[in-house]
């Protein structure tokens, strides 16, 4: 007994498998039903949205050393913009885009910080969203929550994480997060790590017209609640406490600005089985939206 129908369906499926579906981030070929890119582990939903809905989002990265507060910042930013009806609003595209916000907010409302972002790219949270602004066209953006350790690994040993390399090369703007209390306390590691990141960016795309030297970079001092004076004049704070970064930005980046943000009003720590855990004593965001707003303006979206 023959089963013609089944054979026919299979052949269609086989045919579909033969057509490569390029990843939106790294451009690598994938099967049409892949959930994550097999090369860079970015969600393939981005590629499907690009082909079927003709949406070509621009990319924005939040980078910084491990523990600088990238997950908290991005989570807080997405939540604030999706909650407030103001001149800037954010609408998530696809359920996967809400995971970061959900993860960060669930932790903060319990007065905990979210867990460290794992190094494996397939476990990162990606945000694809539409940003609505008054009297301006909506902007489509992709913002992944990159792991700080993976970032530094890629900077020290290029091509360890191809997804980071291809993503940063395509980014239209970047937010560099710096731990303000660490910088204030004189830990030069903070300065060196951010200098490495800026240097990596500038070497990544060296084109004079379209390279990182001309793309907008917002430099954000995080955890401002623990060093109030960084809010007064972030640029002066950078000059005093991260002189290397300040000088490098002045010399190598044409469009950059310093900002200060804070999410927790005050912090403490609790002794858990696996060691000391930092806990926020309350959540009162300060200056979260300004760096993002400036970046959007500079990107000209």
């Amino acid at each position: 007994m023959t089963t013609h129908g089944t054979l026919e369906m299979d052949s269609y499926r086989l045919a579909a498998y033969t057509v490569p579906c390029p990843c939106y981030i790294c451009g690598g070929g994938n099967n049409f039903d892949a959930e994550l890119c097999r090369h860079c582990h970015a969600p393939m939903a981005l590629a499907h949205q690009a082909t079927t809905q003709k949406i070509h989002p621009r990319m924005v990265a939040a980078i910084g050393p491990s523990g600088a507060g990238k997950t908290v910042y991005l989570g807080m930013l997405t939540d604030m913009l999706s909650r407030q009806v103001d001149d800037l609003q954010m609408l998530a595209r696809g359920a996967f885009s809400i995971k970061l916000q959900q993860h960060a907010m669930a932790a903060l409302s319990r007065c905990e910080f979210p867990n460290k972002t794992p190094n494996e790219p397939d476990r990162w949270n990606w945000v694809h969203c539409q940003v609505l602004r008054k009297r301006q066209k909506p902007a489509e953006l992709i913002m992944p929550d990159l792991a700080g350790e993976a970032l530094l690994e890629e900077v020290d040993h290029p091509n360890t994480f191809p997804v980071i390399r291809s993503f940063l090369a395509k980014c239209s703007g970047v937010m560099v997060l710096v731990d303000a209390p660490n910088a204030e306390s004189g830990q030069s590691d903070e300065d060196f790590h951010t200098m490495k990141l800026i240097s990596y960016l500038c070497e990544l795309v060296t084109d004079k017209r379209n390279g990182w030297a001309t793309r907008p970079v917002s430099l954000i001092f995080t955890k401002g609640d623990q060093c109030e004076n960084c809010f007064e004049d972030p640029a002066a704070f950078a000059r005093r406490h991260t002189p290397g970064l300040y000088q490098q930005c002045r010399e190598r980046l044409k469009r950059h600005r310093f900002f200060a943000v804070g999410v927790a009003g005050q912090c403490g720590f609790r002794n858990e089985a696996h060691g000391r855990v930092h806990v926020p004593l309350r959540v009162e965001p300060r200056g979260i939206i300004e760096p993002f707003k400036w970046l959007l303006q500079e990107m000209g979206t």
Binding site: L108, R110, C111, C267, L281, R282, V283, E284, P285
Partner: protein, 409 residues
């Protein structure tokens, strides 16, 4: 030698000017007349440099039927409960009441020396400014209470007995704090803890003058008279309270005023999550979600009062309490901090999560921190004041309070 009074000589000089002119014209020696008139004018000018002739006709003041002067000036604007002014000729008692320091007058040592009228005025002022919170038990919850399983929940709460007390109906406003600053509160070292004396010189505003951090030239921001004072550290709040004859509320006192526990047959009292009930109502409070992003007047949300009439316990500004942070955490779940913190309660205009503005939520801040979103209100124990006309449920003096305790026992 007899001296003319000033006004008589002035009148003579004024009269001399036309007289000299007329005499000069009539006699033909007009130069002499003009010279004499000019001399009289010069003398008048030297004697009274600021004197102006009143050429206007005097208009009789309108009077009422009883032949008393009617005041046509517009009626005074209704004053918020937190801002009162004292006239210079007020008696000391009236001035102290106007400054919001009636609690000092009602201290047993001082009240004994006041007459009945003054005592009654002070009591009325106290009733206006402060609400009564009766004595009773309040259930204090740890921050980590929600993390416990049901069986373990008792580990995260503690029943605390609180004596009856008065609590400010509103947080202390800029206008009230201005009086403290203007009266030299930062120079009266007796108001400050001795340990903090070296730091008091550093409690300055943006211009380096004594005052809250965000003020300028020891003056509060214009148009924010009735906003709660912010930018004051715990010690400044405590000094103000001492100046006003009051103190900062303890943690259980603050929670009791907000949660308003009701003793039932159950083991623990029934308590509210927010002063008005168990559900958040964003229209009643100034939190991040409202989009104001700044303090509002203390009278801005009249519906947010507690059962006892204490307003704005939740939202607008965090409030310092006299207790230490972390007192209610069970062993093994303590939150450690670099330095000891003081407890703050109630959430502020930039508090993001509703659950962190609830009456049971405790946060902490360093006692020397002068944050933009922390204010305070004061309280006063029943036993600290003398009240002449006792009312049910209210203490009248230390002796009466003791007596009541014995009855309860």
């Amino acid at each position: 030698m007899r001296r003319f009074p000033n006004w008589t000589l002035n009148k003579l000089l004024v009269g001399a000017v036309p007289a000299c002119v007329l005499l000069g014209v009539a006699t033909g020696h007009w130069t002499v007349g003009a010279g004499a008139a000019a001399a009289a004018l010069c003398a008048l000018a030297i004697r009274n440099p600021n004197w102006r002739p009143r050429w206007k006709w005097q208009v009789a003041e309108p009077t009422d039927e009883n032949n008393q002067t009617v005041d046509w000036s517009p009626p005074p604007a209704p004053r918020p409960p937190t801002a009162r002014r004292a006239a210079a000729d007020d008696s000391l008692v009236e001035q102290m009441i106007a400054q919001g320091r009636e609690a000092l007058l009602l201290r047993p040592q001082i009240a004994a020396n006041l007459n009945e009228t003054d005592l009654a005025s002070a009591q009325v002022a106290l009733d206006e400014a402060m609400a009564i919170v009766p004595q009773g038990a309040v259930n204090m919850r740890a921050r980590c209470y929600d993390d416990f399983e049901e069986a373990d929940a008792p580990r995260g709460e503690r029943l605390v007995q609180v004596e009856g007390f008065f609590l400010d109906r509103f947080p202390v406003t800029n206008a009230q704090y201005q009086l403290f600053v203007s009266q030299g509160g930062y120079e009266q070292m007796s108001l400050w803890d001795e340990s903090i004396w070296p730091a008091v010189l550093g409690f300055t505003d943006e211009t380096g003058q004594p005052g809250p951090r965000l003020w300028q030239q020891s003056k509060h921001p214009h148009g924010k008279e009735d906003h709660p004072v912010v930018g004051v550290c715990w010690y400044e709040a405590a000094a103000y309270a001492r100046w006003a004859g009051k103190r900062l509320p303890t943690d259980p006192e603050w929670v009791k005023a907000g949660c308003w526990p009701v003793a039932t047959e159950a083991n623990k009292p029934v308590q509210r999550k927010y002063p008005w009930g168990d559900a958040m109502d964003r229209r009643l409070v100034n939190l991040w979600g409202n989009g104001v992003n700044d303090t509002v007047a203390v009278t801005a949300s009249p519906g947010s009062g507690s059962v006892g009439g204490v307003q704005q316990l939740v939202g607008n500004v965090w409030e310092w309490t006299s207790s230490s942070f972390g007192t209610w955490e069970p062993t093994g779940r303590k939150v450690e901090t670099a330095a000891p913190l003081k407890s703050i309660r109630g959430g502020a205009f930039d508090t993001y999560f509703d659950n962190q503005a609830g009456c049971q939520f405790q946060s902490g801040e360093a006692p020397l921190a002068r944050k933009h979103n922390i204010g305070f209100r004061c309280c006063l124990g029943f036993c600290d004041v003398t009240l002449s006309s006792p009312s049910p449920g209210r203490g009248t003096s230390a002796a009466a309070a003791t007596e009541r305790e014995e009855v309860h026992a």
